[in-house]
């Protein structure tokens, strides 16, 4: 399992893709971060006069994390899209399937590699709000909840990308399909009703950004990850049966 994870990680970092994505993400988020910070500095004198006004955490950190979740939604499928589809098209899947590694371990190994890169992206994002600690005080509880939410959301993106990657030989198709599902989940609460808003990823993420850690939301993210991974394993098992 670790062997597969390490091989995949090496593959990801040997290609310019992971580096490019990290650079793009840093650039976008840093710009957003600075814009938010500047806005805050302009407002600060007036805010100081108001009682109970939102502090720097609410005005800078939360919008940053909100945009980070969207940026990651665009980037993570690109990282995960090749996980299986590239093995299919290069014919290397037979090597993995004919070696003494069970399918769950194969899938978990791949997911572990993806999570490592996602973790790195997450860490880079977390460093920006944390840098504010140099000059001011933050609502650390709210920041922690927000970062937890970002991590869970990114992990869920990764699992979904992995699943779509196991469906097709073409990485681009996997990426597009992941975008489709993730955006749908993000926006599904635009429709009213009883059931659909419960499935919404964006709303649940915003709970966490508000500092609200609800066990229902955590379970939602974990279930999404679990379901995507189980479906991936199932899909590979089917592939072994059908060729």
């Amino acid at each position: 399992m670790l062997a597969i994870a390490l091989k995949d990680l090496r593959g990801l970092f040997l290609s310019p893709l992971a580096w490019g994505l990290m650079a793009v993400m840093q650039l976008l988020l840093a710009w957003l971060f600075l814009v938010q910070l500047e806005g805050f500095l302009e407002l600060q004198p007036r805010l100081a006069a108001m009682a109970g006004s939102p502090g720097v955490t609410g005005l800078v950190v939360v919008p940053l994390l909100d945009s980070a979740a969207v940026v990651l939604m665009l980037l993570v499928p690109l990282l995960g899209m090749g996980a299986f589809s590239r093995e299919y098209s290069a014919g290397t899947l037979d090597l993995l399937l004919s070696s003494p590694v069970s399918i769950p371990r194969l899938v978990l190994g791949k997911y572990l590699a993806l999570l490592t890169v996602i973790g790195l992206l997450w860490l880079l994002t977390a460093l920006m709000p944390l840098s504010l600690l140099l000059g001011t005080r933050l609502d650390l509880g709210r920041l922690a909840a927000g970062l937890l939410g970002l991590g869970l959301a990114a992990a869920a993106y990764g699992a979904v990308a992995l699943f779509f990657s196991s469906l097709t030989r073409q990485p681009a198709v996997a990426a597009v399909a992941s975008y489709g599902l993730l955006l749908l989940l993000w926006l599904i609460d635009l429709a009213g009703g009883d059931l659909l808003p419960r499935l919404a990823l964006g709303a649940r993420y915003r709970h966490l950004l508000e500092g609200l850690v609800l066990s229902g939301d955590l379970i939602y993210f974990l279930l999404l990850i679990l379901a995507a991974l189980l479906l991936t394993m199932r899909r590979l098992g089917d592939r072994r049966l059908q060729g």
Partner: protein, 306 residues
């Protein structure tokens, strides 16, 4: 000899297409078995099934008596597999790739270095360890593919068209390598190059349209007498030839040439001696042997016409 691999009545369907239809075969330790067949005969499917990459629709695969369906991990540890398209990662170096293959097959950390060196030496890759696989020529990539299948010293090596795309020198080297492997591993290789089988294999199986249509040892194939071709300067009447010991039938071919069909226990020396004694003046005596090509063409094209 100990049975290493046993296929029992393997069937495989791709949707409505019956790709493998009741194949059973055995492979003993230290034997090189060649699987022959025209394109699309089901060779690669059979190879994928016994490599564990594909689960057959019906039938059982046993490796050293272990059922592949029941003990998938143990059985897969016993085999090394080179698919038709070598499973390489072009952005890894040869060393990185072979280390990955060794870890994947569960070679313990301490033995990994030695395993790597041995596999590279066997496949002539000593000087290529640090090269990127994507930069190697097709022939060397094929060697890396073979090295990958050998790195954990499996009891059974399964090679699907190992010499495809190589130049004649490389083909010779790979053939020598395979023959060497046959000494302590069991090897199953598929190909559609007939001379390759004749040079490398102990036993040959021929598949056609999903069925196993022929299976025999090559030395027996070579030893089998299918008759004698003789030329006599002064041929006697046909009946006299027919009365020679061991001769079952005679067919005149003109210009004193005859095609003799022989009994099982016929001795060509006796026939030569008689023709000399009777003053027929023996010009030529040639045993007609069935060669692999004939067998192959008879079996695979005959079935198609029927």
């Amino acid at each position: 000899m100990e049975t290493l691999l046993e296929l029992r009545d393997i069937h495989h369907w791709y949707g409505g297409f019956h790709a493998v239809d009741g194949v059973s075969l055995n492979l003993a330790q230290g034997e090189v078995l060649g699987l022959l067949g025209p394109n699309g005969a089901g060779k690669s499917t059979t190879m994928r099934i016994l490599s564990g990459a594909l689960v057959p629709t019906g039938g059982r695969v046993l490796i050293q008596g272990l059922d592949m369906a029941r003990q998938p991990l143990q059985t897969r540890r016993l085999l090394g597999y080179l698919p038709e398209q070598p499973p390489l990662y072009p952005n890894l170096t040869v060393d990185e790739y072979l280390t990955f293959a060794a870890r994947l097959r569960g070679v313990p950390r301490r033995q990994r270095h030695g395993a790597l060196a041995t596999a590279k030496e066997q496949c002539g890759l000593q000087d290529h360890g640090r090269r990127l696989i994507g930069h190697l020529s097709k022939g060397y990539q094929q060697r890396v593919g073979i090295a990958q299948a050998l790195i954990h010293r499996p009891a059974l090596v399964v090679l699907d068209e190992p010499t495809s795309g190589l130049d004649p020198n490389q083909i010779r080297e790979i053939r020598d390598l395979i023959r060497g492997l046959g000494e302590d591993h069991g090897v199953l290789l598929s190909t559609h190059i007939l001379p390759e089988v004749e040079m490398v294999c102990d036993r040959v199986c021929i598949m056609d349209r999903g069925r196993l249509v022929f299976s025999d040892r090559l030395d027996r194939l070579r030893g089998r007498n299918d008759g004698l071709l003789i030329q006599l300067q002064q041929p006697p009447p046909l009946e006299q030839l027919q009365q020679l010991p061991g001769v079952a039938g005679v067919e005149p071919l003109g210009e004193g040439r005859f095609q003799l069909t022989l009994d099982e226990d016929a001795d060509s020396a006796v026939i030569a001696e008689r023709s000399v004694r009777n003053g027929w003046i023996l010009r030529e005596l040639m045993p007609r042997r069935r060669n692999l090509e004939q067998v192959f063409v008879d079996l695979t094209s005959g079935a198609r016409a029927a």
